[in-house]
Symmetry: C2
Amino acid sequence: MPAAVPSSSLKDLTSEQIMKLDLDPIWLRDTCSCKHCVDSSSGQKNFWTVDIPNDIKIKSRNIAGDGALEFTWENDLPGMPADHVTRQHPSELQEALLGPESMLSMQRKTWTASSLSLFAVDHNDYMNDPAAFREGLMALHQYGLIFVRGVPESKQAVVDVAERIGPLKSTFYGMTWDVKSVPKAKNVAYTSGHLGFHQDLLYMYDPPRLQLLHCLRSSAQGGASLFSDGFQACRDIYESDQSTFRDLCEVKTNFHYNKDGKHYLQSRPLIECKPGSGPSSNIEEAIDSIRAVNWSPPFQGPFTKHQIESTHDIKRWYKAARKFRDQSESDKNVFERMMKPGDCVIFDNQRVLHARTAFAAGDAGKERWLNGCYVDADPYWSALRKQY
Amino acid sequence: MPAAVPSSSLKDLTSEQIMKLDLDPIWLRDTCSCKHCVDSSSGQKNFWTVDIPNDIKIKSRNIAGDGALEFTWENDLPGMPADHVTRQHPSELQEALLGPESMLSMQRKTWTASSLSLFAVDHNDYMNDPAAFREGLMALHQYGLIFVRGVPESKQAVVDVAERIGPLKSTFYGMTWDVKSVPKAKNVAYTSGHLGFHQDLLYMYDPPRLQLLHCLRSSAQGGASLFSDGFQACRDIYESDQSTFRDLCEVKTNFHYNKDGKHYLQSRPLIECKPGSGPSSNIEEAIDSIRAVNWSPPFQGPFTKHQIESTHDIKRWYKAARKFRDQSESDKNVFERMMKPGDCVIFDNQRVLHARTAFAAGDAGKERWLNGCYVDADPYWSALRKQY
């Protein structure tokens, strides 16, 4: 694999140019997806990468009429037919070389209440028009928040909206759950006071990436839904003080749920970077490197002795976290929407914080009822990759 | 938090000794779980950690008759009653100081075919006797593999066995799935050839921690189940060559599933260490630092150009991975069991590799049928924590 070929230019290579690259034969052989090498019904490889002989060599190279690259082998894997040909279109080889994530390069756009370009799509279009669905997914990826309108009044409806993307996440709350304005329930979201900004299930190893809330009954005055882009709060912090941003990347806090025979627990930094990346000195790179923000004060547990001792100054974390709270709750950043029956919000639970205003006197006797469910990151990213 | 108190000795401190520690007042206030501070029905905190005033002070300390520690506050959180008392039993404070994971210190024991002390429990005991269930969970944690015997012949049975631990994992394969010896299916596990050692769903961000397979029909001659402790293969490698162990910790490979409108993808090292830990120069510490092994050749994708360039010598990975394959498949390490109807195996899918021998002529016309499902790490660890 020649270091002289920068990744960015690979996309523009012709078949002829790829053919001339000094491709590693083990690597190239590993990409083969012919009927002998990959099971056409299961999509699985029939050979083990580690079984490719060390002394395998490219015997011949050819460019077919349709531009596909064809290779034959000397010292191929045992059991392969003598006429075995590895045939790859340049785009397939480029995807293998660059990694499928290179296709998902569309930038996420952080937003404030005034800059948010809210995407709303009609239920029928979302469900039945692939182009409208694609547009919705793209907006969800960019902004972390979209609305589906005119969702039918049924408990199945939110399931159908979610499964348009992928399977529901199963948790101890069930596959779907109700958020009703009734006192005394398992979750403070079920009670009628003001509910502060938070994210759901951060005490799990893989918190839900998407949260869906379908409004079945709405209150008259209070109980409006609030959303704030956690990545925007990170941007605000970075702009005013990079060291605060770094503190939030480094110090881990604990999230726990310990009740009713369950004990869930995870430690995570408030700003969680993608694997192998950290806070850059360039703001766009720094924002781009964020995998998730983690903010769930109602489930935050105390620091352990070990965490305190391995952090140089724990008071700096408190100070930094207060800045995050202040930014995420600032009027500038908070988008408010009174959800109406038929509205279904889909938001990125590892990016967008959600909250709810307190109920008002006029809401007395009026039920607010949201039906919710979760989708994991895996099926969400799978659906996104399939749009390219 | 005085650095002079080592974590290990904290467990033995008396109430009097804890009382004399120089506890940080913000930290201590954060642990309060009285009825004002934690909602008794939801288990959630009613105050935000970041709202604890910087100038809070411990006003009084007292040891109650039952040994509980009682603290009152100067400059407490706004809205707290004047007579607010934070009351903690020493064990609660110790858990907060040491972290709940300190309770889960029981060592995992790596095993070979001859050293495995196989734990098998009767279905009725597992389901109804808390002590037997606890023993099963402990064995699962130690060895990563247990059997439940006498499981009723129904498709619901494996669900009940799994839900004794926690909610099923929902994937695009469904909540449960059949492994039958029929050709042409989505997964090579459904076909009749020899199925090599692998782990399931490594192309997901959070692969299933537990896999359950309930045997409903068994073949007569072939189709035996094989298991190999991936942590033992790591131990073998470490013992013969620490640098190979390190190579497997460092180089990431890609696992992918790209078929039928789905595109799942994850990069992981073959040996995945717990966050913040790496390969130690002490073998027991090195094995203890392993979070998971990742071995699924049928879903292994080619290295990207970036991965190859950031690895000094990719050929070293091939060599190291071959050693892992050889160790995990060695007669010494492979435990074989012909599952019979009524057997249900539960194994740690991120530790124990599984495989199946080829079917034999005598199996012709005889159906082999396993009913399977998955449980995530979160509910599994929750169940484990609740055993202490």
